[in-house]
Symmetry: C2
Subunit: 180 residues, 2 copies
Amino acid sequence: MHRGMLTGVPEPFPVPIGLRLNQAARAVERAFDEALAAAGGTLPVWLVLLNLKLRRPANQRELAEAVGVREATLSHHLNTLDARGLITRTRDAANRRIQVVTLTEAGEAAFLRLREAAIAFDTRLRAGLTDADLTTLSALLGRLAANVGNCGDAGPPWAGLAERSRAPGGPRPAGQAAGP
Amino acid sequence: MHRGMLTGVPEPFPVPIGLRLNQAARAVERAFDEALAAAGGTLPVWLVLLNLKLRRPANQRELAEAVGVREATLSHHLNTLDARGLITRTRDAANRRIQVVTLTEAGEAAFLRLREAAIAFDTRLRAGLTDADLTTLSALLGRLAANVGNCGDAGPPWAGLAERSRAPGGPRPAGQAAGP
DNA sequence: TATTGTTATACTCTATAACTATA
DNA sequence: TATAGTTATAGAGTATAACAATA
């Protein structure tokens, strides 16, 4: 009864695909959050570390964009990482406005732990799906995203945090990312 | 370069499907949030109204479960709805522990507005997708959800809010739902 | 004046724990 | 004691606005 049609409503109504999408995304998100938590991390922390390693963002603006948050929000997360001893911030000698973010040894270790968790998670997630399935799924997801405006393939594939359009406060992202 | 493989990493690595899923889900979520906001609502508000109309939850525990939040969280949202004059809560004469939640006239009107927005959104979202596409997509999404534990088809199709597994605070849902 | 980043503040959504009231 | 619900408190994540420092 929960498959295909909603009944008990004026006229048969197909289960909205957006809802299916969201249920799946939330289930996956929750599981990924748990996997990261088990490895001592959170999604924002993981995304920041990942982007620091993968890209070499010239400044925090780039990093924030890659992570998918505002600059102020990134500062917030960097403060957390700093407090946890995972990064250091030092002024660039050539342009002292720029803070050069560097992973500490503990930061590198945290990155490796989280990367392992992310890789294991992705493997688990792909179970039973062929490459063709994944390609199809990816294409369909791209279409949905395109249908609502965001081109669906914009930005780096590891951009994983929500960027609220409405005023303050907002939903939470979800995420999952590659292990380089 | 952002398609299929991540480069610049030790070994070619397929773009994690979980990440694709999440990007799409967030784009859709954001758009749906906007659509609801334009109709004067939010996702929690919509889900509460929808569940009140669609089901006839016997008590708030049922309603909370349908919406996908804890009872205390539901109270929170009901307070908002109450403050906005969309619902009333009255004690059940037979069992005075039970609060009977009723939509006011303004609540009914809000429901209709949000329903229209949700239906329009779903139509927009499905653009260019055949029924076969939707079936395929739904199945693949179900598989992903199943792979991470949550059976992917549990609960009412309109349960749209996140249920945090980790301590306090937490991610935000996303959502989209049917218009009955 | 423009760029870079931080701080201050606030908001949404969520949760747990403790409480009231009823059964 | 058990059930129904509310209130109090808290926390994560996000945002905007105002600010400082540098160019």
